[in-house]
């Protein structure tokens, strides 16, 4: 019945007469067990078991398909996202380079500094001139303005016909 040499095994573990008795008991016990009539499960139960396994396999297959689709979509989106990031990075690099060209102090030279300093001085002088001109006019003409205004008030007051039009 079993995949082993029982004689050899029993003889390893028992001695002489004992080994023979043990072997006899085991063989007779096996014969008694073999005399049991074979019971069988109902066919309906076996069919139900097979159907259950079939259903589980289908669900597993469906889950695997769904997983593959989702994985593929996710992979595509990831590739697109990476491509987008790479594209944006390229554009950003160009922009930084241009900006660097315009403001890069290493490209300045002493002549430029002198020119800028001169221009700045000229600009400041011009601003001072602009500010000075109206301020001077106001200071010089301030008394005249009051005089004129005072004369006009007197004229209005002395002239009786002024309000008649």
């Amino acid at each position: 019945m079993n995949k082993e040499n029982i004689n050899e095994l029993v003889n390893q573990l028992y001695n002489g007469r004992d080994a023979q008795d043990v072997l006899e008991d085991i063989k007779e016990g096996d014969r008694i067990l073999s005399s049991m009539h074979q019971v069988q499960p109902d066919k309906e139960v076996l069919d139900a078991i097979k159907a259950d396994i079939r259903g589980r396999l289908l669900r597993r297959s469906s889950r695997q398909k769904t997983f593959k689709i989702v994985s593929s979509v996710a992979a595509c989106l990831l590739i697109l996202a990476l491509a987008g990031i790479a594209y944006l990075n390229n554009n950003k690099t160009e922009y930084v380079n241009n900006e660097g060209t315009e403001i890069n102090p290493s490209q300045w030279n002493i002549d430029n500094d002198i020119e800028i300093a001169e221009l700045t001085e000229e600009l400041e002088a011009a601003i001072d001139d602009i500010l000075d001109i109206p301020l001077d006019e106001y200071v010089e003409n301030r008394d005249n303005v009051f005089d004129v205004l005072e004369k006009e008030i007197e004229s209005v007051a002395s002239n009786d016909n002024f309000w008649d039009g």
Binding site: E4, P41, I49, R54, R56
Partner: protein, 178 residues
């Protein structure tokens, strides 16, 4: 190609999710596993339930089978399922022991059930649970003493001694009634 090789191929197909392979495996082992459960518990309905549990567990665990004796692997699961059932029954028994005994006493057995309760079956029931399970696992699982010892995690001499004592007792019991 020998039997073991073809069995391993079949199991490999099951691991790949082949429905036909599962069906073949169920057909190959359903009688032996059902016999194992039925001779242990003596209840056809319960044996059918345990058999269903076993094959569903087989489906779930098939990828954990890494070669070796398939029968040993399968009957280890069968034994675990039966012990789970015993533990569950023990808990239930504590709750409803009295009522169940009354119902069993009052329910007459059908003729078919009477026929099924044969002498050998009754005598197996007189063995202690552990020995009965060991003997039935060896018989229905066709396991060697070495495989039985591995399932029980005990020395082969201990297993051989237990099986011998059980079969000798069975022989004596059968002799007393003849």
């Amino acid at each position: 190609m020998d039997k073991q090789q073809s069995l391993e191929q079949l199991v490999q197909q099951c691991q790949d999710g082949n429905e036909a392979a599962f069906t073949q495996l169920v057909d190959m082992y359903s009688n032996r596993c059902y016999g194992f459960f039925y001779r242990l518990c003596g209840d056809a309905t319960l044996s059918h339930d345990l058999l269903s549990d076993l094959f569903i567990k087989l489906y779930e665990k098939i990828n954990t089978y890494k070669g070796g004796s398939f029968e040993r692997w399968l009957f280890t699961i069968a034994s675990n399922i039966f012990h789970d059932y015993l533990r569950f029954q023990y808990r239930q028994k504590k709750l409803i022991d009295g009522k169940v005994k009354e119902i069993i006493k009052e329910t007459p057995r059908t003729k078919t059930e009477q026929q099924m309760i044969e002498k050998v079956h009754i005598m197996i029931g007189k063995l202690d649970d552990d020995t009965a399970e060991l003997i039935l696992m060896r018989f229905f699982g066709q396991l060697s003493f070495k495989e039985l010892a591995e399932v029980r995690s005990e020395p082969i001499g201990t297993t051989l001694s237990k099986v011998h004592r059980g079969l000798k007792k069975l022989r004596e019991l059968m002799g007393d009634t003849q």
